[in-house]
């Protein structure tokens, strides 16, 4: 079956002479170069590199490899500063996904990735292909996906497009994950006018593999067959990665043809077929075709393995006839993989793919030349140095301006416009803090039968196989903090993920970061990126919470208006025994309600200040990483030793919002006192960090431990009744709070968008 194509000559010299330029291919003009997203200096670099004018196909290949999305050219030097190692890290950034060891011969494979630009243009398909892409990243490494999460940021609810985007994105995530058969168990949904022109769709997938059976993308061996797997190649998604590497102007709608179309059915078949050929020992290296499709996957496999790659496009399974080399190389058709096959296993592997009704075609081979050679119709359409295309793409040290520090807001100077009870009622039914049930009920979160904690708590808890081990999963970031102070905001995103994992009783192990920012060519945006990365690095070092995978999405900007800086952190933790995982719901009446951590009453950048006082102002709460660590470890020990009955992390909305959530989850009320010394509104709504609420039967025992561990702890009151009774405030029936909490989103989505 496999015809050996002639190997490229050792150098590029001779190949250059035989390079075929089709007469109907456009000539390389400055306009064409600009359309490909390449800057004049980048184009000059290409000409210098290859010593001639590139062919049209080659220009396409360069644009696919050197765009921001694939090359990380603006972020690379900063990402290198992040801590990525720990004794339990098997694979850090640079592969399809990160891998950590969880003992017992098992590994967790996970990553988060954005699909922002496509989701704004075509929300359903943009979101589905985002989910499909991240699932492929995970099972490419030999893992069976066990959970998905997603962090979504939308514009102002009043913006005419918001409802349409929420509806399409949520349906798309569900449409793909539900059909593929992976539970979607967690995430975030936020609204802010700064996402009006660019919504964010960050999808995270988590899989389990045998620790000694991880598959990587680096090719090895010369003359090894390169096999194309999965669905056929069509004309969809051409230039998707280039589109995602530029800001939008008024023409966003016209970019619809760059969005791919997802087919979860094919992906499910691809999963089963891939895991089967991996189990049969057929695979040397494997890489999914994601951004920049065939180009990126082939180049990465070769470049990482220090090998050349020759592709014969006549062998590529195509959905339609007459596709050019350019189109095939740039198509982002979904549900495809590229694999370097053990030659003796070809028949066996082909039979497995046929059984699943998928395409299997030998389309090339590895060569010793370090050239990327593309043949089509008997002609050489591209002949390029593979290392320079791949891991030696341009790297920029872009100028950046540090974000100016904002002054600290004195809580006493903030006049509360309404009472505590009124403010709580308003916040609990506000777009950001209301229940996201309308969203997560569209996701199958119980399939596979391992979901111990479903959406709605601090972190999802997933039993590993038959247990007793379980994973805790969360995604977090507070963009308004990042905007106000990128460094503290970056720290906070990591700390909150760490805290959410700790709150369910899990030991945090590692994280994936999905950095969403505006145009990095603007120094102030670059300053946000650099500041957030520094903060993330500092927090992950202090908390032993390394970064093992990630994704950068820049140019989230429309008509010069950037999104809020949004470095989403996906965290993974481990519980030794899932039966000991802790939930937020009050468990019984008459238990003590305790607050762990220091409360100064920090109102700067709080939800209260924004949504009640109408002020988006001030410095965000500082993150004391030593306190985070001490308090988190203290809480985990309380959970482990069975000393607490409920735990909730404090974040958006502060203490009283957390207490209301604990009450609503159980329909049990509480009677609460505020201590003196902090203004009431700042005490109840301040967003000081490193805090948890716990309930306990024996408050004294918990207090003694806290004293011994030098952890601040105060008693707030006791659970009981059916109302939340805050000292000196109108009592709030829990049922009423619950109605407000549950009603906002369904009512919003049911209303017409007129």
């Amino acid at each position: 079956m496999w015809e050996r194509v002639a190997s490229s000559p050792a150098g590029g010299e001779e190949a250059n002479r035989t390079l075929h330029v089709r007469s109907n291919e456009p000539a390389i003009t400055p306009e064409l170069i600009t359309q490909h997203g390449l800057k004049p200096d980048e184009y000059a670099r290409i000409e210098k590199l290859i010593g001639r004018t590139p062919s049209f196909t080659e220009l396409g290949i360069f644009s696919a490899m050197w765009n921001e999305h694939c090359s990380y050219k603006s972020s690379k030097i900063h990402l290198r500063t992040l801590p990525t190692t720990a004794p339990w890290v098997i694979q850090g950034p640079g592969e399809n996904a990160g891998v950590i060891d969880i003992g017992g011969g098992l590994a967790v494979v996970f990553k988060m990735e954005s699909h922002n630009h496509p989701s704004y243009i075509e929300p359903y398909q943009g979101a589905t292909t985002g989910v499909g892409g991240i699932l492929r990243d995970v099972f490419t490494m030999g893992a069976r996906p066990i959970a998905c999460l997603n962090a979504l940021s939308f514009g102002d609810p009043k913006h005419p497009k918001t409802r349409h985007l929420v509806s399409g994105v949520v349906a798309g995530i569900g449409g793909y994950g539900n059909s593929f058969g992976v539970p979607t168990v967690g995430g975030e949904v936020r609204f802010h006018r700064r996402y009006d022109g660019n919504c964010l769709v960050n999808a995270m997938a988590v899989g389990i593999a045998e620790a000694d059976k991880i598959f990587y993308s680096a090719a090895s061996g010369i003359g090894m067959p390169i096999v194309y797997l999965g669905s056929k190649t069509g004309r969809d998604g051409i230039h998707g990665a280039t589109m995602a590497s530029a800001e939008f102007s008024a023409d966003a709608e016209e970019k619809r043809p760059t969005v791919q179309v997802g087919d979860p059915f094919s992906e499910k078949l691809l999963l089963e077929a891939c895991l089967e050929i991996m189990a049969k020992g057929c695979v040397i290296a494997i890489q999914d075709m994601g951004a920049a499709g065939l180009t990126c996957s082939a180049v990465e496999m070769g470049a990482k393995g220090d090998l050349g790659v020759t592709l014969d496009l006549d062998k590529v399974p195509c959905r339609e006839t007459g596709m050019s080399a350019y189109e095939m190389m740039l198509s982002e058709s979904q549900e495809r993989m590229l694999m370097v096959l053990k030659p003796e296993k070809e028949k066996e592997a082909a039979a497995i793919f046929r059984k699943w009704g998928l395409d299997f075609a030998v389309v090339g081979e590895t060569t010793p030349t370090k050239r990327f050679l593309v043949r089509h119709g008997g002609a050489i359409m591209a002949d390029l140095p593979i290392k320079e295309l791949g891991d030696e793409a341009p790297v920029y040290d872009r100028p950046f301006a540090e974000t100016a520090r904002l002054s600290v807001i004195d809580a006493a100077s903030v006049e509360p416009p309404i009472g505590i009870a009124d403010a709580l009622e308003k916040l609990i039914g506000s777009p950001d803090l209301c229940s996201k049930r309308w969203v997560f009920e569209q996701y199958d979160h119980v399939i596979l039968g391992n979901t111990v904690q479903r959406p709605g708590g601090d972190a999802a808890v997933m039993r590993v196989n038959e247990g007793p081990k379980a994973l805790a999963l969360t995604s977090d970031v507070t963009p308004r903090y990042c905007e106000a102070d990128p460094f503290e905001g970056g720290k906070q995103a990591v700390a909150e993920a760490w805290r959410n994992l700790s709150a369910v009783g899990a030991r945090p192990l590692a994280l994936t970061d999905n950095l969403n920012f505006g145009n990095p060519e603007r120094p102030e945006i670059m300053g946000q990126l650099v500041g957030c990365i520094r903060g993330i690095g500092e927090a992950s070092r202090a908390l032993d919470f390394p970064i093992v995978s990630g994704n950068v999405s820049l140019y989230n900007e429309t008509n010069g208006q950037a999104i809020l800086p949004t470095p989403t952190i996906g965290g993974v933790g481990i519980l030794d025994d899932f039966t000991r995982s802790m939930t937020v719901a009050f468990k019984a009446e008459g238990e003590s309600v305790l607050l762990i951590g220091e409360t100064q009453g920090w109102l700067g950048q709080s939800v209260y200040l924004r949504d009640i006082c109408g002020r988006e102002e001030g410095a965000p709460p500082p993150v004391d990483l030593a306190a985070e660590r001490r308090h988190g470890e203290f809480v985990r020990a309380l959970i482990r030793d069975g000393m607490v009955t409920a735990v909730h992390d404090l974040s958006d909305g502060g203490l009283v919002v957390a207490l209301a959530e604990m009450a609503m989850a159980s329909r049990i009320g509480a009677v609460l006192e505020a201590p003196r010394g902090v203004p009431a509104h700042a005490f109840w709504f301040g967003e000081d960090q490193a805090r948890y609420v716990v309930t306990a039967k024996d408050a004294e025992a918990v207090a003694q431990r806290a004293t011994a561990a030098a952890v601040p702890l105060i008693r707030l009151g006791a659970t009981g009744g059916r109302v939340l009774a805050i000292a000196e405030e109108r009592p709030l029936p829990v049922g009423d709070l619950l109605s407000r909490f549950e009603d906002w989103l369904p009512a919003y989505m049911a209303a017409s968008s007129a």
Binding site: A171, G174, G175, N178, S179, F180, G181, D263, P264, F265, S266, K268, L269, W356, G357, F440, E441, Q442, Y443, D444, H445, V446, I447, L448, G449, N450, T451, V452, R454, R463, G467, F578, T579
Partner: protein
């Protein structure tokens, strides 16, 4: 109890089902590929699990209903063999003509995953002997097309012959539109054929069989079947 779980391309709850069967019957079920023409010899129970067979393309269950293995299932059912069809399985047996009616899109036109309450209408059949008639159980649903519809005559027959086995209800067993999440006619969640050996239902009892899943209300269905075959032996 020897069970056979059918696997069509795109089915995705076959592992959940196999685990529940293994856990409760103590016996590993056979996984049977859609392209096979025969069921394993001695099969007591055929299970058609949930998922998105053939991507739900064309119409839910329409393609799977015409897969080679379904002929063997028809013969098996005609001889009185027990067939349990859950979610996509329910859609497949309706498309295959083993049960009447059709599952339309949920009334709200959205996929819904949540726990629902089911009133067990009768306990004198092998599928429900593990429950009491009138008992309310709590199990998850996860479907976009679970809205059971049939013509008036069919509904009248189903009701008249006591063939509605599970009905969506409130936690205290009242049939109420607020507790009928997908808008099914007469709040129908599950029905049997005339002979009483083919059960189709939308909810997933297999996802509530261990304490770690939150509830164990689904066990009764499997435990009842195990008892049935034990008594028959």
């Amino acid at each position: 109890m020897k069970s056979a779980v059918l696997v069509f391309p795109g089915i995705n709850r076959e592992r959940d089902m196999a685990r529940a069967l293994r856990l409760i019957s103590g016996r590993e079920p056979a996984m049977v590929w859609h392209a096979d023409r025969d069921l394993p010899p001695g099969t007591d129970l055929v299970v058609i699990p949930g998922g998105f067979s053939y991507g739900d393309y064309l119409r839910c269950g329409a393609i799977a209903a015409r897969a080679p293995i379904m002929e063997a299932v028809r013969v098996f059912a005609a001889r009185g063999g027990l067939v349990l069809a859950v979610c996509n399985g329910f859609q497949i047996v309706c498309e295959a003509g083993l049960l009447p009616g059709v599952l339309m899109r949920n009334a709200q036109l959205r996929f819904i995953c949540r726990d629902v309450f089911l009133r067990v209408e009768r306990s004198d059949i092998p599928f429900t002997r593990g429950y009491n008639a009138g008992q309310v159980i709590r199990v998850p649903v996860a479907h976009g097309e679970g809205n059971y519809i049939a013509d008036g005559e069919t509904i009248a027959r189903l009701e008249g012959e006591g063939r509605v086995v599970f009905r969506y209800s409130s936690p205290d067993g009242m049939v109420d539109p607020n507790w009928n999440h997908n808008g099914a006619m007469n709040a129908i969640a599950g029905i049997i054929n005339e002979r009483g050996n083919v059960l189709g239902l939308m909810p997933h009892p297999e996802n509530h069989v261990e304490a770690s899943m939150g509830r164990t209300d689904g066990r009764g269905l499997f435990a009842g079947l195990v008892d049935h075959f034990k008594l028959a032996a």
